[in-house]
Symmetry: C2
């Protein structure tokens, strides 16, 4: 079991072309022993956005806080904390922070879409990384 | 693309033996066209708990609000909003709400572990179910 706080996971700039003002924390990944899918938390600053792109894998997104928009091709949907988005494979999409506060969301992808180089994957943590209450 | 609020998704009692005071919303599932994994939101009332069990698939959990414990066999870890838990396949586990407020968390599973009968899967919703801002 892995148990940790979001804040204990290193936050990295998103350097993918087309992204602006985005940071990411890889909360759960294959390096933790997750067999099928990865959980990341994104934080987009006011005015920032993720790349406008499409790819053959899905996103499952849960908005934690803030307000913004998700673009489905040329159509935009307002989003805010508590909203859920499924971006299906090959759908053109982009997340934008249109507010004056941070936009934070979880975005999960299948492991097959995790193309981080090995150097960006931390060591496997097969122990709880949070204080134990017993 | 599917875009909706958590509150727009029906909440159901968790009737699995061993669960007490738990409700679930299936936010994203195969009925939505999700090819690999499902996102559920659980709400556990004060004093409530999920079954103490193990199974051959993983849980990826994000605590949205509240406080409680996750048990890893006979070892307990305190959890609260913002915490992340990976329950690896075959790990004995249980979530407990030890507080006086609701404990809410997302829990994702691979589609292969989704054993809902067809009657409990809503119709596929291949359109945005949230107001469009354009």
């Amino acid at each position: 079991m892995k148990v940790c706080s979001t804040e204990s996971v290193a936050q990295q700039d998103v350097t993918m072309p087309g992204a602006q003002g985005c940071q990411v924390r890889w909360l759960v990944g294959r390096e933790d022993g997750a067999p099928n899918f990865a959980m990341r938390q994104f934080e987009v600053e006011p005015g920032g956005f993720t790349p406008r792109h499409h790819h053959p894998y899905e996103h499952e997104v849960y908005v934690l806080e803030g307000e913004g928009e998700v673009w489905e091709g040329d159509r935009r949907h307002p989003i805010r904390g508590g909203d859920v988005i499924l971006v299906r494979p090959d759908e053109l999409h982009q997340f934008r922070n249109t507010s004056t506060q941070s936009l934070k969301f979880l975005c999960l992808i299948p492991n097959s879409a995790d193309n981080r180089p090995a150097s960006e994957r931390p060591e496997c943590g097969f122990v709880a990384t949070k204080g134990v209450g017993d």
